[in-house]
């Protein structure tokens, strides 16, 4: 008996590898869109997450403006703010506060991302999304998230790596060593790098069209509202804001669905689909 030299080192099944990457990416993008449209629980979870992030940013900016007033030196102009924050005695405190805020923000964002990603993976696996379970899963990975957030706090650009590769991996891989986390994520990414890059282009195209649609309708609403009585104008503007928020949440969910789908493909070696093996919808 002789063994043929057809070992698949990367681990992906031959059927997946021989198939065109473009076809696979198109299918995954289509399925991600399907999940994002069908699953209302996931959309709610994504909306709550985004609102919490906006709330945190609001707190941060509010604190930035309120701090001088709390210190007894209220600032009303840009010049006064610059003068206040350039004072030597405030610089050290400010740096420490800024780093703490950035760390907490990173941790908070990663935590919220994990709540969504863990449920997206369950939906890909044919289960129903559960709002509370997502939070519980994220809470059970708190210390891993904390060490990872601590590592990326000084580097703003690392949130991209966090969103794209590390957080989906963290949903099922609990390690406290952030370097190990990153290394494992990179190893998985190497298996699907072609589909990953093609997918990012596809995602950008879809997100672009969604926002074109939203901004187009917003422009129409705004132009109509300028010629309407105040009450109708107020309703139309509310619709504009709601539409923009829904579009933002939808795009956030869609992008995460695609990234989690790619993570499943890389880690399990099989392309997932929202229609599970029994033909039930996800």
């Amino acid at each position: 008996m002789t063994t043929s030299n057809t070992i698949d080192i990367a681990g992906a099944p031959a059927s997946v590898k021989s198939e065109s990457s473009v076809a696979s990416v198109r299918r995954m993008l289509k399925n991600s869109l399907l999940i994002s449209i069908r699953d209302s629980v996931l959309l709610k979870l994504a909306t709550v997450d985004l609102l919490l992030v906006v709330f945190y940013i609001g707190l941060f900016l509010g604190g930035f403006f309120l701090y001088p007033a709390l210190m007894g030196q209220p600032c009303h102009t840009q010049k006064e703010f610059n003068a206040f924050y350039n004072q030597q005695e405030h610089k050290a405190i400010l740096l420490a506060v800024a780093l703490t805020i950035q760390f907490l923000g990173t941790l908070f964002t990663n935590f919220l991302l994990l709540t969504v990603d863990s449920e997206i993976i369950r939906v890909w696996n044919g289960q129903k999304a559960d709002f509370k379970r997502g939070w519980r899963t994220a809470a059970s990975h708190f210390w891993s998230l904390a060490t990872w957030s601590l590592l990326i706090t000084p580097f703003n650009f690392m949130w991209v790596a966090s969103m794209c590769i590390v957080i989906p991996v963290l949903t099922r891989d609990d390690t406290l060593n952030p370097f190990k986390m990153l290394w494992r994520s990179v190893l998985l990414l190497l298996k699907i790098w072609k589909e990953f890059l093609l997918g990012i282009v596809g995602m950008l195209v879809i997100v672009y069209w969604v926002f074109c649609l939203v901004f187009g309708s917003n422009a129409i609403f705004t132009s109509i509202s300028s010629q309407c009585p105040p009450l109708i104008a107020w309703v139309l503007l509310s619709i504009c804001i709601s539409l923009s928020l829904v579009a933002l949440c939808f795009c956030y969910l869609f992008c995460n669905c695609y990234l989690c789908g790619q993570y499943i493909k890389a880690s399990e070696g099989v392309e997932p689909s929202p229609e599970n093996a029994f033909g039930d919808p996800a």
Binding site: T3, I9, N125, R184, L188, G269
Partner: protein
């Protein structure tokens, strides 16, 4: 057999479907699972281990192709009725198992920075040492 007996390692780098194939084929070939014994359904494995149904289905398909399990319509999957699966494997089936084992070994070694060539050299050296020992 319970699903809890299937322990998967998500951080090993070895694809999950391959881990399922290895675990089940190991149990079948070692005799831990007897012929005719029912194995967990795709639905149970999926729900318990939080893996994709397509992944489990692919693993079961591979095991079925290797002749280790059989699907009975409406009843589920069972260990194939064979007197001794180890001795009745065809050359093709043996090669398939070796392919799976070697790929897993190479992937795991890769995690520690060991190249495929190093693994191959190591196996050759081991084989040579075993042959010398047997000859003595």
């Amino acid at each position: 057999m319970n699903v809890s007996e299937l322990t998967l390692n998500f951080s090993s780098g070895v694809p999950i479907y391959r881990q399922i194939v290895q675990l089940l084929s190991g149990k079948i070939l070692s005799g831990a699972l007897s012929p005719g014994e029912k194995i967990p359904s795709i639905r149970d494995v999926t729900a318990e281990l939080n893996v994709n149904p397509n992944t489990v289905a692919k693993a079961y398909r591979e095991l079925e192709l290797a002749g280790l399990i059989e699907t009975r319509r409406g009843m589920g999957c069972f260990v194939a009725e064979r007197d001794d699966a180890r001795h009745t494997l065809t050359d093709d089936e043996k090669r398939r198992h070796l392919d799976t084992l070697f790929a897993s070994l190479v992937t795991s070694a890769g995690m520690f920075g060991i190249s495929e060539q190093d693994v191959s050299d190591y196996l050759t050296a081991k084989h040579a040492a075993a042959t010398t020992k047997n000859n003595k």
